[in-house]
């Protein structure tokens, strides 16, 4: 499968430690890739590198055949959007203002909002279920609401590739499900989505492909059923897992400690 965004021979070294070590991975068009792995395995770093936010120590990131370093930041921003795990929203912007910022890279510095911009913002507010919060200051929102505002802003960019860093970490079950379904539907519309997540069940159910990272190394990438095997999960997470199937055929995983808990 041809990749729209790929990391080739990727190596990242920060503070005298290799964070990511020499691997190649690509994002196919119209697919959801879930990046999973234990804490500190390099999931967020991989997303940041793929968004061009961190300079690589080795290798290159390729967007539609072009090295990302050859492309200007506003042009990259129109094609690739990164949603951070944590929102730094300390000033009283309204939700609509924050989401509108997703349109900045599409117009000149002093240009006014066009009707196309307003449509994109309204659609994004609705799809992320934050339309009812549009005129509220973001400083007054809960962690989960803020996360949905960031996702709305990424949707407003209308970029082809979305890189989401643990988008469901601070969401309740309903909104977590909403976001995963949204990712699925965006991929079905032809966009490319990559999610760094600890939710292995979500990855199993909604992703087309899963990449398993451990200590900065790519342990494997492929279909969820090929990657999220009990052997791989035990090697990476040091837990035993069982795979089940719900009434509608959706797979799910249950985890157990390898050894009985010490009392």
């Amino acid at each position: 499968m041809r990749s729209v965004l790929s990391a080739e021979g990727l190596g990242l070294r920060r503070t005298n430690r290799w964070i990511l070590q020499n691997f190649t991975i690509g994002l196919g068009p119209g697919t959801v890739l879930a990046i999973v792995g234990p804490n500190g395995s390099g999931k967020s770093s991989l997303l940041r590198c793929m968004a061009g936010l961190w300079p690589l120590t080795e290798g290159r990131i390729v967007l539609e055949g072009r090295d990302l370093r050859e492309i200007s930041r506003p042009q990259v921003a129109c094609a690739v959007t990164y949603v951070p795990q944590e929102a730094k929203l300390e000033f009283e912007f309204t939700v609509r203002e924050i989401v509108s910022m997703g349109r900045y890279s599409h117009r000149g510095r002093f240009a006014h909002e066009t009707s196309d911009d307003r449509t994109a913002v309204q659609d994004a507010l609705i799809r992320a279920d934050v339309a009812y919060l549009a005129e509220r200051p973001v400083t007054h929102l809960s962690g989960g609401e803020r996360q949905r505002v960031l996702i709305a802003r990424s949707l407003a960019t209308r970029s082809r590739i979305l890189l989401l860093d643990e988008p469901t970490a601070s969401l309740d079950v309903e909104h977590g499900l909403d976001i995963l379904e949204l990712c699925r539907s965006l991929a079905d519309e032809g966009r490319t989505v990559a999610i760094a997540t600890h939710d292995l069940n979500g990855a199993y159910r909604f992703a087309d492909r899963v990449a398993l990272l451990d200590s900065g190394r790519l342990m494997g990438v492929g279909a969820p059923s090929d990657i999220l095997t009990s052997g791989n999960i035990e090697r990476a997470f040091h837990v035993r897992s069982e795979t089940g199937s719900s009434g509608d055929g959706s797979p799910f995983l249950i985890f157990h400690r390898l050894k009985p808990e010490v009392q």
């Binding site: 068009p29 940041r48 968004a51 061009g52 936010l53 967007l63 539609e64 055949g65 072009r66 492309i71 930041r73 506003p74 042009q75 921003a77 129109c78 094609a79 959007t81 990164y82 949603v83 951070p84 929102a87 730094k88 929203l89 300390e90 000033f91 009283e92 912007f93 309204t94 203002e97 910022m101 900045y104 599409h106 117009r107 510095r109 994109a120 309204q122 659609d123 994004a124 507010l125 609705i126 799809r127 279920d129 934050v130 339309a131 009812y132 919060l133 549009a134 005129e135 509220r136 200051p137 802003r153 949707l155 960019t157 209308r158 970029s159 082809r160 965006l186 519309e189 032809g190 966009r191």
Partner: protein
Amino acid sequence: MKINLSQIHESPISPAVPPLPAAMAGLRRPAPAGRPHFRLRRMAFLLIVTPLLFLAAVGGIVAGSTHVDWSVALHVIGARLFPFWIDRASIEKADDVIIWLIRTPRVLVAALVGGGLAVAGALMQGFFRNPLAESNTVGVGSGAVLGAMIVFSTGLASKSAIALPIAAFLGALLALITVYALATRGGVTPVSMLLLTGIALSALLISISSLLLTLTVANWEVAEEMIFWMSGGLDKRTWTHVWICAPFVLFAFAASLYYARDLDLLMQGEDTAASLGVDVESTKRAIIVISALITGSAIAVAGAVGFVGLVVPHIVRLFVGPSHRSLLPSSAVAGAAFVIICDLLARTIHPPTEIRLGVVTAAFGAPFFLFILVRKYRELNV
């Protein structure tokens, strides 16, 4: 399939996201219950503060130890600005000197200093994502003060009127370059490192300034001048000071507007800003240099005027919101009005003694700032 990246600005690379059906369109939530949008407050603020600036400027020109009628003041200014259309013959020499050579430059310097410091404060508060930051945070103010102290203590200040502003400006610039060089590694300047380096260097520069002052106390006349300058003031400001300050402040203000949108994004973190198209490192450099340029020029002509950069943008933000496209021009207008009024009070409260400008700005700024903080604290209920 290949994306033609040069076409990205003209056309979205993927079709518009179709809206969800109405049943899913956020309608399970109650109707919006937010506050009125900042747009109304923004208009109300400008409708009040812009006339206030004009009135303050007129007041600053007509009021003082010698009262001059406002119609005479307008005549003098009109005749100076449009010499071919307005007759100067009927203007008395004393009025011309008071209005055009003493008070007009003083009011203009007050406006440039006030507007400039407020804009620099707004830039720094956005840059550090901290409403309590100001341009002194990166050591620029202390650098300017040390530059001026050196000129005083070496006796250069008494030989040339321009030596003092130039030294203050160079001091500001050198402090900035030092802080930036120390805080930057591999082309990256973490904001936290910049802040800590600025605080440390600032403390060092202030201690050197204090040392110079201590060593100069034997020569009381010079030491008195140094103390006066450290508390800020606009006495004896001339058109030379306007020309020293105006080009830098106006250029830096225009440049700050260019970066207003980037600053809105930087306030949400560097990753977010970069992801939405901002060249983070070059923008950070530009904002720091703009802020230093304004602060250095303002301190150069008015001495150390405190609290303007801290209080004005903070209060303005409450009315116009955090977006720098409206915050920067509104802060400029409000800061200019604030310093003109403070200067007017400084020279009219206790005649013939002129109270130092820095004393008045702090006397008004600090309690008002405390009031806002306490109110905010109670609102948050923490």
